[in-house]
Every structure is written in C-alpha cells, then in structure tokens.
Symmetry: C2
Subunit: 369 residues, 2 copies
C-alpha cells in the first residue's frame, strides 16, 4: 500500500470513523482503523462490531493495499503533522507503515488487515432518502429523550418507523417522550419499524452535514445502514418490542398556553440554578394571561412572569428542571404550546404552528415544605 494524501482529507476521514473504534477492545485489531486503498480512494473503517463507520477520501495511489493502524497513535499523529503532502507506505506482508512528510519520517506498527471484521453487507430491506440537514435536526429533537439505562435496552434506542410516506422517530425514557414526523417524497410499499441504538444515531447526527444532499437509510432485519457519497454507517438494531407509545399521548387538556420559547427556557434555567442543591424542580403556575415560573429553596427564591394566552383552568404544576430545559431546547420554534392535563399527569409541548413534532413530559412531585 502506497499513497499520497492531504492532511485535511486524512483528518476528515479519521475524525469520521474514530468514534466507532473501541480503544480498549479485547480484540487488538479493533483498537485500530482499517486503511484500504482501491483505485484512487482510501477507505477508512472503524468498528466496535455493533457500530461500524466507513469514510472514503480521494488519494493519489501508487500501490493498492491495506493495513490496520492503532487509533492510539494514528489520530493524534496525523493531527500533529504539517499541512504538506503526506505519503503512507507499507511493504506488503509487513504490519508497519512509514509515513513521510517533507524530509521527516514516522513509522507505526499496526495489524494485518485480514484480521479485521467485514462490514455487514446490504441484502434487502426498506430504503428511504432524507435530506441530511433534516435528519440531523430530527435526531437532535428526539435523542435527548433516549434512556441511558442499559437494563432496559429498547429505551436506549430510537424507534424508526416508515409507513407509506410517513417517516417517524420516537424516543422515550418513560419520564419524557419525543416524537417527530417527516413526510417522504416517495412512498414505501411495506411498513417497517426498527429500534436503532441512540449511540449510532448520535454519530449519524454528528456526521451528517448542514446540506440538503440526501442520506440513504436502509432498515434490514438486524441492521440499519446510513450512507452518503463518502460515508457508510452500519449498526446492529436493538431486539425487542417498542412499547405502545401512542396510547400515552394525551388527546385532551384542561389548561393550554402559548408562550415565547426563549422566555420560558431562560426562566427555567435561572430557576434551576437555585434548585440545584436540593430537589431540582421548578414550579409553573398557569393563571389568567401568564405563566409564572418560580422556585423557593434554602438558597433563595425566584419569580418570573411570562405573558401568554392561557385557555382553561388555572393550574400549578412542578417539573424536573433539567428535563424541562431539554424538552424546551428540542422544540426548534420561537413559540410553543404547553398543554396540561392536570397537576399530576403528562404535559405536552409542541412547537406553535407545527404538528410534526411533540414532546411529552411527566410532572414531578411538589417539594415538601
């Protein structure tokens, strides 16, 4: 394997794949990045076997070939190189590479490429096309609600559901739920559902660009595949049944208000500062024409009145401050509708004038005096 590449291109590819590499894998070859040169492309692959990321860049090839290089060294080393043409050279059969930059050289020991596991290959399955910027924002809007509790695996994933032209993402940790719909251009014949690990989708969100260029998503029985021109992400799916989430979304409300998202977000964040050493809840009082955000703790008190049209009954309700902040940040809307079903039952947040998204939040118990 012998090729010349630019430092920015190499860094781009290493940054793309390195989050999939597990530097402490018991299988040494998986602590490295697979470098493969075919034609004038260099394919870099990182994998922890659950999640695999492959990125390809253009290089000037002298000899095709492959090698696995340890992430522990290759990533920081390439980052530290000067921005001049960089040559990689590995003698066939050797497990070292010599990297030449100007008159200097560095050599790193690696592993044989034959030991590296292969990417799962795409057989069949349902494929859809979504603009990258849309998918990135959809993921941001639901990923905060994914659970970290590994003992209940389905909640650590996002339900991805395609039915006709409707593409839907749902995430919940049982305290809050976020749901986003997107209208596809083309109809899918067979409805399909899959639970994709939150970690995988975090990487998909990180790696998709702020561009309208499309990303292709293919859901198979055990794997999901995401691909753009220079990127392929493959992930195992989470086995199990996603809970019947639709029945927990309230259809009626007793109190409803429409307020400026920024105002309620800032008030919640300030109030949470006073609550952070005790029971971290914030009180929302819906009264005629305003929503009052308040907290009283040993540290002091805060009161902010946010004007907004309130329909229905006056109501006092407490929310976990961090959960409320995260739900508000995910809204992506200047104004929001807050729909309450009672002081002890689920609240629904919606971006005003946009029915493609909602998030649901269970209230917290009021603090004891």
């Amino acid at each position: 394997m012998k090729f010349n590449a630019s430092k920015p291109a190499l860094m781009h590819a290493i940054n793309a794949v390195q989050k999939a590499v597990s530097p402490r894998s018991p299988l040494p070859v998986l602590t490295g990045i697979l470098f493969e040169v075919t034609g004038n492309r260099l394919y870099l692959t990182g994998s922890d076997t659950e999640l695999t990321i492959q990125c390809n860049i253009e290089v000037e090839t002298e000899t095709e070939g492959a090698i696995v290089l340890p992430i522990r060294y290759i990533s920081d080393l390439v980052r530290s190189l000067p921005d001049i043409p960089i040559q990689f050279n590995s003698i066939p059969g050797s497990t070292s590479v010599i990297i030449t930059y100007g008159t200097s050289q560095v050599s790193i020991h690696g592993y044989e490429p034959e030991q590296y596991p292969r990417l799962p290959s795409i057989n069949r399955g349902t494929g859809i096309q979504v603009p990258q910027d849309e998918l990135k924002e959809m993921l941001r809007q639901v990923l905060f609600a994914v659970s970290n509790d590994e003992t209940r695996p389905v909640f650590t994933g996002v339900l991805m559901q395609v039915d006709g032209k409707q593409f839907r993402l749902v995430a919940t940790d049982t305290y809050r739920l976020a749901m986003k719909n997107y209208q596809l251009e083309e109809e899918i014949e067979q409805p399909v559902r899959a639970i994709i690990p939150g970690k995988t989708l975090g990487e998909v969100a990180r790696l998709t660009g702020n561009t309208e260029e499309k990303i292709s998503i293919i859901l198979e029985e055990n794997h999901a595949f995401f691909s753009t021109a220079d990127l392929k992400i493959a992930s195992r799916l989470i086995a199990g049944q996603y809970p019947p989430y639709e029945q927990v979304i309230p259809r009626e409300f007793v109190t409803r208000t429409r307020v400026t998202t920024r105002e309620i977000m800032d008030a919640t964040e300030r109030a949470s500062l006073l609550a952070r050493d005790g029971y971290p809840v914030v009180k929302f009082t819906l009264q005629e024409n305003s929503c009052v955000v308040s907290v009283q703790t040993q540290a002091g008190w805060i009161r902010e009145e946010i004007s907004g049209l309130v329909e229905g009954e006056p109501l006092e309700i407490w929310f976990n401050a961090r959960y409320m902040s995260e739900s508000l940040r995910a809204l992506n809307s200047d104004e929001l509708c807050l729909e309450l079903t009672g002081p002890l039952s689920a609240a629904v947040l919606r971006p005003a004038g946009d029915d493609s998204y909602l998030s649901l939040l269970l209230p917290a118990k009021p603090p004891k005096d």
Copy 2:
C-alpha cells in the same frame, strides 16, 4: 445597599474575583463574594485569606452598603441574566439581596459583610511599575517551571527580585529553571526579593490586559500587592530562602546550535506522541549542520532532521518530552539557541538575539533497550 449595574460590568467583576474564592472554605463567609457600594463604585472582593482579589466597576448608586453573596449561586445567576439593567437591593441589616431584571426578581441569601476579613493594607515596601502586557508575557515565560510539590514550598513560588533598574523573575522545580529580566524605567533604591505563590501570579497573568497601561507592584515583608485602576490583588509571600540559582546556570558549553523554534517544537510534540505510553523521552542528536529529533518505542519510530548551524562537538542527549515542549513554548522567539554542556548535564535554551530570558533543562537518562 441599592444600585443598578449592567450585566457585562457585573460579569467582568465576578470573573475577576471568583478564582480567589474558596467555595469549600470552612468559614462560610469566605465562600462568598463581598459586594460593597461606595459613591458610584461597586467593589467586589474574593479571598481565601492567602490570595485576595478586588475589582471595582461603575454603578448607579441609590444607597451605599455591603453584603456577601455565595459564589455557588451569584456567579451562574448573573451569567444567566438577560443583558438589561440589573438592580441589586438589600435592606440594611438583612442578609438577602433582591435582584430585579425587567419584571422578574430573584433573591439570594448571603452573609453579613462585617464577618468578611479585610484586605491587608499597604504600609511601606518597594513599588515598581510595569506595563501589563510585559508582565503578562514575563509570567507566561516563567510560570511553567514552578513546582506543584507542596512539600517544598519555595519551589511552588516565583522569585521576584528588584535591584536598581533590574526586575527579575525566576522559577524552578529543580528539573528546569526559567529566568526573565526586565529593565525598569525608574531605579529602586533598596534591592528587594520576595517569593510569590505561583497561584497568585497565575491570577495576575490572567487578569492583566494586553495593554501598555501599567500595573503597580509593591513588595512588603509578608505580602505582595498588584494594582491597576480597577483591580487590586494581594497575596501572602512564601517564607524561606530561595536557592542560589545563579550558580547552576552554565557559563560554558561544548555544543551549541541555532534552530527554528517552530520546527523543533513540532518535531518534539510529534515524537512525544510515540513515547507517551512508555518512558517519555525524546532524543536530540546534534551533528554537523543539523539537529535530529528522534524516538524509537514499541509503537514505532520517528526521525526529523532540522537544519541549523552547530558549533562544537557532536552530541546525543535525551530530554523529557513534556519538559522540552514547555520550555520551547515559553521562548517567545522565532529562533532559539540551544547550548549543551554534555550528555548528562544541564542544557540552556535562549531566544536568539534576546539575552533577557533563558531557561535551563536537565537531560533525562537514555531509555534502556
């Protein structure tokens, strides 16, 4: 106490003093910032009794007065406020303040200002004036060599020495030493020496601006004082004798080279990447017309040849990679002179054409094969 202030001014003052506050002090009042309003100035003070920082800003005063507010809440709270006029109001005798911003209010419990320790007052001592930007850079050039070892207190400080027109800073952790001289405009009658805690000088460096405006330094028997128009820093001195550092600085060398600082710095940092999992030393080989930076470890090898005029005998010497990188970064010069006295004795680094600064570095033992 009642005053109106802008958020940026308040944040500036809180940021200035907060590093001196010890949030876990056993004396509760020291976990807060002292707010004192006199005339149209607000004086903020933070102190851990060793180090005291006071910053003053202009405010619109309605009533003079004072209160101590806990750093745990006041800092993040002010940071989270909107950028609109902010009013502080505390009823005399009360230990709470009400902060009003627009139609919203927050109240924080504090402490009585009478409990707060006073700043040490300036009696006599030697005063000098140095441009802030010069002092900031002088401190950067020596602080890296300060020791963290609290069992030998004098090495955790910087020796500050004034003699006639010469102002000198020296720091050493016994493995390396940095010395910087500065020519004062006015002559000081009585020579003076003091050992100032590295932590204090880190704060002085952080708080001095990139401006030619002068900072005044007064050294007393037990305290050092730094002051500008809006800032006062007071620090206890470190007791003890600073070691006779001048006699360890070599006066002769066997090998000397002049090289580009950037080249040798980059080569050292790349070489250190390969050495980081084992014995972290880098080899420097001075030969005819070049300095070769190299490392050979289990991870691989690196070799960079940096051209430069070499005088004297060829020589191989090893240095701790981090110590060398830190010494190189402190030089502040495009080119440097590296003077060696032998493979096992101290090396001297000087900025080319600038005799106001030098740093000294002991070599490391060569790695075992």
